[in-house]
Symmetry: C2
Subunit: 478 residues, 2 copies
């Protein structure tokens, strides 16, 4: 049976309506479902299992780099959130506030945490007193709530799952190093786990985190030409430490404030995965995050020996350490092909009567649809090799797309054309927020980041004509 004949008709094609395609995939691949409260989604088993793979990778990396997990309260008293001025101004508009507990009003209303800097600072003030107590390298896995008007699954939710690292350091240098080190960990996660190339860089002051001195981000590029901020790390200096009275006795015996960072990635990475790799047949998952890496499907399953053989093949793959499953249900092979393509399973192993006769299987790659006939005895080695190949192919394809969508621009006209094409407009910039605002007004694009290691290519800012100081990437963004 040619699986081209049974293309799944139930999802919108990317070309017809990319946004609808995205929502269709989220639901039909059973990644999520809506709850009755807007912006609060249900992470279904298949979606949550992908998140667990991301958690496993990052948690290991965090621990290897000396971090410890903690858990802070999910509520922040209004008075505590208000302690750092810029921070509360940034978050106040999107707070969910509880003011009834046990049928009685709460004096100091409780904000469901939108982020936990204030909670960590309150705790750090109690447990840090000497340079011997530093660094503190804490991380927390939890969910946070930000009351959003416009929500989309994984991309913007009123509740989302994330990790937030919060660290305190003896010196400015050490804190700055941490800020960049964790950005590298996120970048590694993109390259090695998600097969997504990120652009790394520093945020402009306009785009930085509320209360931070500097924000850095990883930005992913979606096939509709829009950028997706996929993770951030922040350097705080000692501003929060001062506001929260966090002090330690230094090596010189003097009391001083420690330097702080925070950093986080969220289930937004699922949104990036779906869009960067997906196609009109549904999800395409990189092998290392795929909850099912290989699905074994019996063809002409009613023929003697086929189902037992399919089960044995799945068992062999599992024993070899692969996440494999057999679908031996009474659905048609065609339905199954379509279903596991929708779910983005990297490899499909088909086995039918003729394959049994010839001591072979057919292996199909989800990412490009190629099919191979493989001798049964080579199956395990071939499957392992193909999973590596798929990761590499998916990453390289995403890299090519990214490279094709960074356009150097020297004036407003070129900026418009680049944004029209989709992707990043790479521009020299004076550094003034006025020009950033003007671009937003004219094009609806925002400064995504000032990427690392750039060479200046213009002398003047094309917006104001003043001296150009920085290379910036502008793009429309999620």
């Amino acid at each position: 049976m040619d699986n081209k004949q049974i293309k799944n008709e139930s999802i919108t094609s990317q070309e017809v309506d990319f946004a609808q395609w995205y929502t269709d995939v989220c639901r039909k691949a059973e990644l999520m479902d809506y709850s009755s409260v807007k912006g609060f989604i249900i992470y279904r088993p298949y979606g949550y299992a992908i998140w667990e793979q991301i958690q496993n990778y990052l948690d290991k990396r965090f621990k290897e780099t000396g971090h410890e997990n903690v858990y802070m309260p999910m509520v922040i008293p209004e008075s505590l959130l208000a302690k750092e001025k810029d921070h509360v101004e940034g978050f106040a508009p999107e707070c969910l506030i509880a003011n009834i507990g046990g049928n009685a009003p709460i004096d100091d209303p409780l904000i469901i945490r939108p982020t936990s800097e204030t909670l960590f600072c309150e705790h750090y003030a109690k447990i840090i007193s000497s340079y011997r107590d530093l660094p503190k390298l804490y991380n927390q896995w939890c969910s946070v709530v930000r009351w959003e008007k416009t929500t989309r699954p994984f991309l913007r939710g009123s509740e989302f799952l994330w990790q937030e690292g919060h660290t305190m350091h003896e010196t400015e240098e050490e804190a700055r190093t941490e800020t960049l080190k964790m950005l590298e960990v996120y970048d590694d996660c993109g390259r090695d786990l998600l097969a997504i190339p990120f652009v790394k860089g520093r945020k402009t002051d306009k785009e930085k985190f509320a209360g931070a001195l500097e924000t850095y981000s990883i930005e992913a590029l979606m096939p509709d030409g829009k950028a997706l901020q996929s993770g951030t790390t922040h350097y705080f200096g000692n501003g929060f430490a001062k506001a929260f009275g966090i002090q330690f006795q230094g090596r010189d015996g003097k009391l001083t404030n420690p330097y702080q960072t925070s950093w986080g990635v969220s289930t937004r990475l699922l949104g990036a995965l779906i869009m960067v790799h997906g196609d009109d047949n549904g999800l395409v998952l990189p092998p290392l995050v795929a909850p099912i890496q290989v699905v074994v499907i019996p063809v002409a399953a009613q023929k003697p020996g086929v189902i037992p053989a399919a089960r044995e093949i799945a068992k062999k793959l599992q024993d070899a350490g692969l996440r494999a499953k057999v679908d031996d249900s009474d659905k048609t092979a065609g339905w199954k092909f379509s279903e596991y393509e929708m779910k983005g399973v990297p490899l499909r192993v088909e086995v039918g009567p003729r394959d049994l006769e010839n001591k072979q299987v057919i292996i199909a790659k989800r990412n490009d649809g190629t099919k191979l006939t493989v001798p049964m005895d080579d199956m395990i080695d071939k499957a392992k090799e193909l999973l590596k190949t798929i990761h590499k192919e998916m990453y390289e394809k995403a890299c090519r797309y990214l490279a094709d969508h960074v356009t150097e621009v020297h004036n407003l006209e070129e900026l418009n054309a680049a944004l029209e094409k989709g992707g990043y407009a790479k521009m020299m910039w004076c550094g003034e927020q006025g020009c950033e605002d003007k671009i937003k007004e004219l094009t609806n694009a925002t400064a995504r980041c000032m990427p690392f290691n750039q060479i200046a290519f213009d002398d003047v800012c094309p917006i104001c004509g003043k001296k150009a100081k920085k290379v910036v990437l502008f793009a429309k963004a999620y």
Copy 2:
């Protein structure tokens, strides 16, 4: 140096004030800290790492038994919680309610989840339509909020961490089997991981979960003679399913309601661990949950070769798969002995100049204080063996204490005496709530459970004199 000389004076002895001892250990072993909101605690790295070990054990067991993880919203609209009458009556008094979002009032106020039956049911109603969709075996790791008046770290909090399993089944029998199967998994966790013997049994109707038909529990016995309910499993019948309109087409083609269970354990298990095993020197951790299984402490650390040797020993232990660390800080060996005893580290390896000369180490067991001299070459094997021994000894000690504190009683006088001694009063009971209430009124003890596999030992209920039907354990409880 004899570590008896440096007993840690900073915690209250159990005999002087058990409750204060408990709080002291929670804080001095750095398991937790208080936040500024009553009942919302901070899980510090050492406490959270123990919880992670428990999570790892249970998550593996859940997956092996076919369960899948999901994540549901952290908020429940008031109208949704109210759909099942008994359930909302049980939980309404302890709800934390949010009614402002993004600076605007929320029409249907949001309850921060105290438990998630209603959310799971709302979702199940959407995704279950045929017997082919069953069973649904879902689990969620999250935190929940129940607004409590009296709070104690880990034992009773306004917020706590837990897992909640929620399953739907085609038949009553299958759901009942699940309810008891998960109770066994919890019991295994006690015996194999926590070294805690639980009493398993069914709750009386008075003590069952709001909305459940039957509740089962594992109960642990604390050294102050009080019981601690440590986990529960519930059989719901199809009551929620009816209230939420969950229906499926059965094998006979007819629409019918599925049968439901839920089950959970929480960070309360940390409270059980602390109390069951702890002593006047602090925590005593069972090896399998101990974040540090072996601490290596250099003695006369200033002598040449001692610190490098200590580091090498720790490295060897780590390479052998043990969670080992060396404390090579400039604190005294005595301080370190005391510190890691407080933290309940199962094994301490001491190494000093004489040990190096004799190619040996000293190994001390936290649970009973015994010390052994071990040839360096045997260290790894001996450490592994001792960790197993310690688990066995701790479990057996707890079993003996439990066995010594179950007293068969035949009248009110004996009931009082048994409760005075501490532990469980084992009594035949008529099954009427009136008698249960009367015992509560007279003794402040509650029915902990009707334990499995009991043999009747009296004909009449000692309270009312009517026919006795069931064996019940009464105890004072946390």
